[in-house]
């Protein structure tokens, strides 16, 4: 599904990602990326999706090397993403923007997607006038339109309450299962990640600390020392 080989990104003299290698094989699964601030989670998302050019390394999706492809081309090939800061189309109605992207990418079940994400009641509202939680869901809906095979979500629950986070992850888990899409989720809410994700990668200082099933990652002493602490 997704294979990242020796991916490195440097900002000047700072090595934000240091030879990261990871693989996500299962379709229809949630894969969590966790780690403390500055671990390189968002940089990893940016490098995989083409927002930032990696210093070295390669990204493969379904066996195809996409490292040199443009962002738009990656999206057409089935890789989508949402952003840490909500990225919707302000000033445009929710329905209009979803329909525009859906017609471009050939989405056949926009109605089902809107219903699953609970966006029906804001469908005719201007996107930047709706509640923040709804805006996050519009962001995710824009990433889900067009039946992508791989979706990367950068802190989808940022700014949401605990209850809203749980609801959002329930929606996500349902969508991922129903639409058979693999989702990589960067999230600071560790409880939600361990509860909903099928596999997890823990990063610290741009390197992979641990990778595997939630129970294994939770017990990993390096993850506990660097991120989870005694609270885990």
């Amino acid at each position: 599904m997704l294979r990242v080989e020796d991916l490195s990104v440097t900002y000047g003299s700072v090595r934000a990602l240091d030879s990261v290698t990871l693989e996500v094989r299962r379709r229809g699964a949630l894969h969590g990326i966790i780690g403390p601030n500055g671990a390189g989670k968002s940089t990893l998302m940016d490098a995989i999706t083409g927002r930032r050019r990696p210093t070295c390394g390669r990204v493969f999706v379904n066996g195809r090397d996409i490292t040199a492809l443009s962002v738009a081309r990656r999206r057409q090939l089935g890789m989508s993403r949402s952003f840490q800061r909500t990225s919707i189309f302000p000033g445009i109605r929710v329905g209009e923007q979803l329909e525009l992207v859906a017609s471009h990418l050939g989405e056949h079940d926009l109605v089902g997607l809107v219903e699953t994400l609970g966006l029906a009641r804001v469908y005719d509202e201007v996107a930047d006038k709706i509640a923040y939680g709804d805006q996050r869901r519009v962001d995710i809906a824009l990433a889900l339109v067009g039946q992508p095979s791989l979706m990367l979500l950068d802190e989808p629950a940022a700014g949401l309450s605990t209850a809203e986070t749980i609801t959002l992850f329930e929606h996500l888990a349902a969508v991922v299962r129903d639409r058979n899409v693999t989702a990589l989720v960067v999230e600071h809410d560790v409880d939600a990640v361990f509860r909903f994700c099928d596999t997890i990668t823990a990063l610290d200082l741009g390197r992979v600390l641990a990778d595997g099933a939630p129970a294994d990652v939770r017990k990993d002493p390096r993850v506990i020392a660097a991120y989870l602490g005694t609270a885990a």
Binding site: T49, R51, S70, V71, A72, R73, R75, Q76, S80, R81, S87, I88, F89, P90, G91, I92, G95, E96, Q97, E99, L100, V101, S103, H104, L105, L110, V111, V114, E115, A120, R121, Y123, D124, L142, A143, V145, G146
Partner: protein, 353 residues
């Protein structure tokens, strides 16, 4: 949930719904057609050649302003140097007539075609720029063209400081030069050209391309991450805006039979820019209304003396009082007046359900 059911219903559009929609479009086209035909008879109502000439000046300015407003509305880019495309087209037309010896129709087609190709080239280079650098680049382009026109070595082609006076044989869509030089003779050409560019800008704005352009304006990065090419539509919008400006330039050449370096000056593009701000960029017709107000205002201020001082004060006041332009003010007023009616209809709909 009603909205979503509406969406689903739209996808199962019945022949009756399609027929109703076609009838709505036909009604709009019929009203617009009637207004266009009615406008053709304006010279019968406005007997004074002076005021008719004033209206023609307003139309020439309006077409330039529509070009600026279209680009601003669709792409969020403000063109400071529209004079490059209006004045450029006038010069191309004049050069084709006076230097190449072409007929008026061939020269007109050449002016529009060459201007459009020039817009594609310039657009391909500058549409990636951020709004302010973009605005300054267009301004620099106009100033550069003005300097080129004034270069002594190019004088045999451009006429230098003296500009190019021209006369043509034959007819432009049946109009001789003598007819086109009079306000009442030129009126149908100017009026139909204005209606044409307004219809073009309106149609593109409502098309899928228009929706894509506005989404790019709202969030370009999200559009790229939605699989869209964000570059080509912007070049297209710029080209279309340049083409509209070139129509204004060509009309200027046909009406005045003269191409002068002042047409490429900042003040020429500046007048169109100010007209756009006065009318507002939220609608296709706003800049045209702004141009009318600007020309009428200039006429009144000119009569009172202190033209530039009074124009400046007037423009500042209008922009201060109507931050969304005069058309924006009118639209919001109409929307407020229509709100109770819509609420009543909405209530009826609920009652019917």
């Amino acid at each position: 949930m009603g909205a979503l059911q509406g969406l689903a219903a739209d996808r199962r559009m019945t022949p009756q719904t399609a027929k109703a929609r076609s009838a709505g479009v036909l009604k709009t086209v019929a009203v617009a057609g009637a207004l266009i035909v009615l406008g053709l008879f304006a010279p019968m109502a406005i007997k004074s050649p002076y005021y008719l000439g004033l209206l023609i000046n307003a139309i020439l300015l309006a077409i330039s302003a529509v070009s600026i407003g279209f680009l601003a509305q669709q792409s969020g880019l403000m063109m400071f140097g529209a004079a490059a495309f209006t004045g450029g087209a006038t010069y191309l037309y004049a050069i084709a007539i006076t230097r190449f010896g072409w007929g008026v129709m061939a020269a007109s087609a050449f002016a529009l075609l060459a201007s459009t190709l020039f817009c594609v080239l310039i657009g391909a280079l500058i549409v990636r720029a951020r709004p302010l650098p973009f605005a300054m680049l267009t301004l620099a382009l106009a100033q550069m063209l003005r300097s080129i026109v004034l270069i002594t070595d190019f004088r045999p082609l451009t006429g230098g400081d003296d500009g190019l006076a021209l006369s043509f044989e034959g007819a432009f869509f049946g109009f001789s030069q003598a007819q086109l030089s009079k306000p009442e003779g030129f009126w149908p050409v100017a009026w139909l050209a204005l209606c044409g560019v307004l219809a073009l800008a309106w149609a593109v704005g409502r098309s899928r391309t228009g929706k894509v352009l506005r989404a790019i304006k709202a969030n370009e990065e999200r559009m790229r991450f939605s699989g869209f090419d964000t570059y080509t539509p912007r070049v297209l919008a710029f080209t279309l805006a340049g083409f509209i400006a070139a129509v204004s330039g060509l009309l200027t050449g046909l009406y005045t039979a003269f191409a002068s370096p002042e047409l490429l000056d900042f003040s020429t593009g500046g007048n169109a820019l100010v007209s756009t701000l006065i009318g507002g960029v939220g609608t296709v017709g706003g800049p045209a209304l702004g141009a009318l107000l600007f020309v009428v205002g200039q006429d009144q201020f000119g009569g009172a003396g202190n033209l530039e001082l009074l124009t400046g004060i007037g423009v500042v006041l209008v922009i201060f009082v109507f931050p969304n332009g005069v058309m924006g003010f009118i639209r919001s007023g109409v929307a407020r007046l229509g709100a109770p009616v819509r609420r009543a209809q909405h209530g009826d709909d609920h009652a019917a359900r």
